[in-house]
């Protein structure tokens, strides 16, 4: 049970006994390098991180890569966690940090290639019809045009339904900055949607009724 991190084999760990441990105990388990803590942390927070990354990035594969990086980061830095009860916030912070890095990397890649990469929406939404996929591709293409911070604030507010206060805390910025970024993002997105004849037509004709 008290297997050390360096001795972990490639098998699932974390039995039912640990499923219900509190965040504090879990954080302490991580800090002690307990192998069970890795599995429990993953199962407790990975769905949230994966979903948030998928919605923010519009890519399932990028989201999985990001989740791996986020949890590796969490495991490495767990010893430095001063308040174990804030493990959830810590994981969120790591996820936001990872998202920022990924969005910055995308911007840099686009700038280096002089051409914005085509938005490839890969959300594993098998049930979504072709028209919805096309709308999502256009939507993420517009998100790619936003700045890194505006996009992140928009995603957390509109896609993750977080409050202004939560976003400010998790991103480490002031609430007014969050509001300003959100207003800016909404205004620009609305303007870009109006300017996109294809998108406007879909919603003006009320063809899109969901």
């Amino acid at each position: 049970m008290s297997k050390r991190l360096s001795q972990v084999s490639l098998s699932l760990v974390g039995g039912a006994n640990h499923r219900d441990v509190s965040d504090s105990e879990l954080a302490r388990g991580l800090a002690a390098g307990e192998a069970w803590a890795l599995g429990v942390t993953w199962h407790r927070f990975a769905p949230m991180v994966l979903a948030m990354a998928r919605r923010a990035l519009g890519s399932r594969s990028d989201a999985e890569d990001l989740a791996q990086e986020v949890f590796l980061n969490v495991f490495c830095k767990a010893k430095a966690l001063r308040e174990p009860e804030k493990l959830r916030s810590f994981v969120y912070s790591c996820a936001i940090f990872g998202l920022k890095s990924e969005l910055r990397r995308r911007k840099l890649r686009a700038w280096l290639l002089f051409l914005a990469p085509e938005a490839l929406v890969d959300l594993d939404c098998r049930s979504t019809d072709v028209e919805a996929r096309d709308l999502l591709r256009r939507f993420y293409a517009l998100l790619d045009r936003l700045s890194q911070r505006d996009r992140l604030v928009f995603s957390l507010k509109e896609l993750e339904a977080m409050t202004i206060e939560e976003i400010a805390e998790i991103m480490g910025i002031s609430e007014s900055t969050v509001k300003r970024s959100l207003t800016h993002a909404l205004a620009r997105l609305s303007r870009w949607i109006d300017a996109d004849a294809g998108l406007s037509e879909v919603f003006d004709t009320r063809r899109w009724q969901r």
Binding site: L10, A46, L135, L199
Partner: protein
């Protein structure tokens, strides 16, 4: 969903797209989570392995660095501990070492030097010479006149150099006898075994002699003769050092490179002396011209003088170089230049021992031009150095010149004085002839 106050008026399309994006993303399945966790474990294990590898390599690097430093340190310590060539020590029998390294015999049996490295040197009766330098690099012995035998022990570290008049003999493990007669300016070297290189004013430059060869050089006749002789066994004339003759110990060698007048340094050692030369002490400062002189490169000295100008050289050259220039000029029969150099030596360094020697050499130079003046130079020398290196030679030459200029009656007192002082000297026969004839 709350909107800020400055929410754009038409956001229906945006709301619809946001809702579509939010609702489209499914929750990750259990299989996806398990796959992700397995992947995560693999990455954790890989990272741990990578870290262990880095730690191992870092440790290996640190160990290698430490080992390298240790090796370097050990090598440095070892190098410091490797004994440098030990300082040469020697014992003198049958004479003593005066200040300046001059050898003075105490009887008529010659002087024998026994070096701790195994080298043996014997100055035959009547021979005069000096130890110019004795240090860890080797020894320089000067034979002023007479004959001396050298049985030099082989050594890679040390270099033996024997100077006889204008000749120098580079030695590496050999046995030979060298003779130099300053009156007739004839040089002779008999090589029993080993090999030597002789430098001097000879046509063709340096001569390398093999065992059994004999070299004869007559400078006035400009003759150089090499003959083959039967190689002989090393001489056995070196009597084992007698403890009874072992005298006091002097811890430092005589420190002066030029002859010191006896009245300046009259203190003579006991008849047998042990002297050591530490590696740091050198009996003589080497100048390039002194080296040229020692190696028989007379012309090179003269060329350098001509390039620089004689007057400038006479005014600026150090004492040692002036002396070397005088010797080189004498050996090349440039008597005017030799005279000028010697006069400059006396004018610029009047208190030095070389200035005293210069008086004798000026006498030698003047003999061909003005014998009376030569006698006055010998007198000047003898006045300052009655028992100096060249005193026997000065008395002898003065006797000969006085006989030539003023007759036997005038020369007889000088001959008597010579015989009293140097009964076995090279002019003893001539002196006896002068004193015995009516």
């Amino acid at each position: 969903m709350s909107r800020p106050d400055d929410d754009p008026p038409d956001s229906r399309a945006l709301n619809s797209l946001t809702k579509l994006a939010r609702d489209t993303v499914p929750r990750p399945t259990a299989a996806e989570l398990d796959r992700g966790l397995n992947l995560l474990f693999a990455r954790v294990a890989a990272k741990a392995a990578r870290r262990a590898k880095v730690v191992r390599w870092s440790l290996a690097g640190v160990c290698a660095t430490i080992c390298t430093l240790l090796v370097v340190q050990i090598a440095a310590v070892w190098r410091e501990r490797v004994p440098e060539p030990t300082a040469l020590a020697y014992r003198v029998e049958g004479g003593s070492v005066l200040a300046g390294g001059y050898l003075r015999d105490s009887g008529n049996a010659g002087i024998r030097l026994f070096f701790n490295e195994g080298t043996k040197v014997e100055f035959k009766p009547g021979a005069r010479g000096r130890l110019r330098s004795v240090d860890k690099e080797g020894t320089r012995v000067v034979l002023d006149q007479g004959s001396a035998s050298f049985d030099v022990a082989r050594s890679k570290e040390r270099r033996w150099l024997v100077e006889a008049g204008p000749f120098s003999v580079a030695v590496k493990g050999t046995f030979f006898t060298v003779s130099w007669d300053p009156q007739s300016e004839s040089f002779e070297l008999r090589l029993q075994h080993g090999s030597v290189v002789v430098s001097g004013p000879m046509p063709g430059g340096d001569i390398e002699l093999r065992a059994g060869q004999r070299l004869l050089v007559d400078l006035p006749k400009q003759q150089t003769l090499i003959t083959e002789e039967q190689a002989a066994a090393p001489a056995t004339s070196f009597a084992p050092p007698s403890s009874a003759n072992t005298g006091s110990v002097s811890s430092a060698p005589a420190p002066v490179d030029a002859p010191t007048p006896a009245k300046d340094a009259p203190g003579t050692s006991p008849s047998s002396t042990v002297a050591t030369a530490s590696s740091s002490s050198k009996l003589e400062r080497k100048s390039s011209w002194a080296d040229h002189l020692a190696n028989g490169r007379w012309d090179r000295i003269l060329e350098e003088v001509e390039q620089k100008g004689l007057d400038a050289t006479l005014e600026s050259a150090p004492s040692e170089d002036l002396f070397a220039l005088a010797d080189a000029a004498r050996y090349r029969r440039r008597t005017d230049m030799a005279r000028a150099a010697l006069l400059a030596q006396r004018r610029r360094f009047p208190g030095s021992s070389r200035s005293v020697d210069a008086a004798f050499l000026l006498g030698r130079v003047e003999e061909a031009r003005d014998r009376a003046r030569a006698i006055s130079w010998y007198d000047a020398y003898l006045e300052r150095a009655a028992t100096g290196t060249y005193s026997a030679e000065a008395w002898g030459r003065k006797m000969v010149l006085t006989n030539e200029l003023k007759g036997r009656l005038s020369a007889r007192p000088i001959a008597e004085e010579y015989l009293r002082r140097f009964p076995n000297g090279s002019y003893a026969r001539a002196a006896r002839a002068l004193t015995s004839d009516p």
